[in-house]
């Protein structure tokens, strides 16, 4: 297995008296989809927010590209090349696809917006992801289906050559065929060499696209395992009880 691009070691995070993350380890590899699973309240969202710099861990190590780094805010994470696609999509309904892709990072010519080159780049990015469902990239996001919106949100993460893309339940609100489209897109991201983290409640999705799975249980990392070495029941055991016989932890050398 190649070197991890992002490694967390012994991450702790408390909110007042509530100890949400207890010594969590996680490794994320380029070109692979790492599924992050766990029951409600296991700490998935908190862990993601620690990675994205929204929360600062109380203790623990954060390694990026083999080097220890400190991430004190979303800007630091963005600077490293980490992008989160949130569940409640961070898109503006009243703007078109190009505007949304470049929101906050518009290309400019002097003081004016360089619409032509933004549109070209947007078109290239969507083509690169083999997105063929969008009729016009100048239509407003309000007119898109759930799957298309998810596609735009993901394309936005890709546009900036990010190294790590974290997807928070990207298929939660989607129908069958749209889920399929998005999962295909997730796979293509990983195949393009991006390290993808997929948070999901849906084990069918996880087994379809993920390479390895990290299971959180009550704030601890139950195990991070290669997906082809475990059965679905073992993953369910990890999620519900925090342990399962015969799984090989690849995450940390415990």
């Amino acid at each position: 297995m190649s070197e991890a691009i992002l490694s967390l070691r012994n991450i702790n995070k408390s909110f007042g008296a509530v100890h949400v993350l207890r010594g969590v380890d996680l490794d994320i590899y380029p070109g692979q989809v790492t599924a992050l699973v766990g029951d409600n309240g296991a700490g998935k969202s908190t862990l993601i927010k620690c990675i994205a710099g929204i929360y600062t861990p109380d203790s623990g190590e954060y390694h990026f590209d083999g080097k220890p780094v400190t991430v004190n805010g979303p800007r630091d994470a963005t600077a490293l090349g980490i992008e989160v696609v949130y569940q409640d999509l961070a898109l503006c309904d009243n703007l078109d696809i190009v505007h949304n892709l470049f929101l906050g990072r518009e290309k400019k010519k002097g003081v004016t917006l360089d619409e032509a080159s933004m549109e070209q780049l947007a078109r290239q990015t969507l083509d690169g992801l083999s997105v063929r469902t969008v009729k016009s990239i100048r239509q407003t996001v309000a007119s898109l289906s759930g799957g298309q919106r998810q596609t735009v949100a993901i394309a936005r993460a890709v546009l900036w050559n990010n190294k790590v893309v974290i997807l928070d339940e990207p298929t939660a609100a989607l129908g069958v065929s749209q889920t399929e489209q998005v999962l295909n897109l997730v796979r293509r991201l990983a195949d393009a060499g991006i390290a993808v983290v997929l948070i999901s409640h849906n084990l069918v999705d996880v087994f379809e696209v993920a390479d390895n799975v990290a299971a959180l249980y009550l704030g601890t990392m139950a195990a991070q395992v290669k997906l082809n070495e475990v059965s679905r029941n073992q993953v369910i055991e990890l999620i519900t009880t925090g342990k399962s016989a015969g799984v090989t932890n690849i995450g940390a050398n415990k």
Binding site: A90, C92, E106, L113, A116, D127
Partner: protein
């Protein structure tokens, strides 16, 4: 990668047809993106009704009168659009105009300043008022409705204090008075029209050339020609009728040409439209109005965007103050008061700007402002009481806000 060819081909194939353009437009309207359509239709309908009922409505004199009547409200509405785009409101904009107007008049009349520095100070007063409101709304977090309601009272008080015991301060500066009371010479009017038309056509052509060079889909040429020719023809008719003699007594005074306030409003329209659609600040304004959280996550400084919106709103109100004092030749405690602000909000909303934020254009203020002025003017000519005018204008505002709310529902 070979899979993308059919799609690109499809897109270019679908492009060059008037039928598909019409279908796209219809789809947009159905999805709730109606834009200025109701305002345009309403304006046409109102003009037809008033023309049939009053012989003096569709006369050159009344047309020029309408433009100068609407000017102040239009400029306030243009500023309000920046705030409305965020889903906020500025109820104090009318009295900001009054206060700025008072500053201008006091400096010119009482302190014998030249009008240029006086106007600058009046605009700075507008900026300061906007900074206070914007700071309270975006950094302290008080809802804009409450802040500006409080400021509505406070600015009214400042205006009363500035206007002083006498209540009215006259202004005699020729330039200030000219803005609402003078016209361009007919020949200059036509020249002005030709220059504007040439610039408009050139900017349209340039936009298409840039997109074609970048290999992007361009607007259908026939459609562009149709729209441009239509708009310019309409403007030419307007210039022609404004150039007709409209004085009752030509020997005493000759009245013809475009009112001086028109180029001022056009300039604000051009600068504001450029700001909203071509700069990243404008884009961020729409983004914050559409989805504040998304804007924040995209790294946009939401608080600063909001602060500036209020500053722009109050600064434009200061220019409206100039127009008000020019029209009245004086400032009084009711300058920018009464129904001014509500007419301005009405103008923006009737023009197609959403009260929910994220949707609106500068031109909405002009279209809506004209609708409001036509109702006011037409019903006045028909001899209706002020009470009836208020009721009708209120109902029109309500209908536009209702259309706005329903179109939002339809869109989702």
């Amino acid at each position: 990668m070979s899979t993308q060819t059919p799609e690109t081909a499809q897109e270019t194939l679908a492009a060059p047809s008037l039928k598909s353009a019409a279908a796209d437009y219809w789809a947009r309207i159905k999805s709730g993106d109606i834009g200025s359509l109701p305002a345009v239709l309403g304006l046409v309908a109102l003009c037809i009704v008033f023309t049939s009922m009053s012989s003096s409505f569709l006369t050159p004199g009344n047309f020029a009168n309408l433009l100068t009547q609407a000017a102040g409200v239009i400029v306030i509405a243009m500023g309000l659009i920046f705030v409305l785009l965020l889903g906020d409101i500025d109820l104090s904009a009318g009295y900001s105009a009054g206060v700025s107007g008072a500053v201008l008049v006091i400096l010119v009349s009482n302190h014998h300043w030249n009008w240029v520095p006086a106007l600058l100070v009046a605009i700075v007063a507008g900026v300061l008022m906007g900074l206070v409101i914007g700071w309270l709304v975006s950094y302290v977090g008080v809802p804009s409705f409450v802040v500006t309601l409080a400021m509505f009272l406070a600015f009214q008080g400042i205006l009363l204090l500035l206007a002083g015991e006498g209540g009215t301060i006259a202004i005699e500066d020729k330039t200030v008075i000219a803005i609402e009371n003078s016209n361009m010479k007919p020949l200059i009017s036509w020249l002005f029209f030709l220059i504007c038309a040439a610039l408009y056509v050139l900017s349209g052509l340039r936009k298409m050339a840039v997109r074609r060079k970048a290999g992007l889909k361009t607007e259908l040429v026939q459609l562009w020609v149709f729209k441009t020719v239509g708009l310019l023809a309409l403007c030419a008719v307007a210039v022609f009728s404004l150039n007709l003699e409209r004085s009752n007594n030509v020997k005493l005074v000759s009245l013809k040409g475009i009112p001086d306030v028109v180029p001022l409003i056009l300039a604000i329209l051009v600068v504001g439209t450029f700001f909203l659609s071509r700069t990243s600040y404008g884009r961020h304004l729409y983004a914050v109005g559409g989805n504040t959280e998304a804007a924040r996550r995209s790294g946009i400084d939401v608080k600063r965007v909001r602060l500036f919106a209020f500053v722009i709103c109050s600064s434009l109100a200061a220019i409206a103050g100039l127009i008000f004092v020019s029209r009245a030749n004086s400032v009084s405690p009711t300058t920018g008061g009464n129904s001014t602000l509500l007419y301005a909000v009405g103008a923006a909303v009737i023009g197609g700007t959403s009260l929910f934020g994220g949707k609106g254009k500068m031109r909405d203020a002009i279209l809506g402002g004209l609708v409001v002025a036509v109702i006011d003017n037409g019903m006045g000519l028909l001899g209706y009481a002020a009470g009836i005018k208020y009721i009708v204008t209120g109902l029109v505002l309500l209908v536009s806000a209702g259309v706005d709310a329903l179109s939002r529902k339809g869109g989702n």
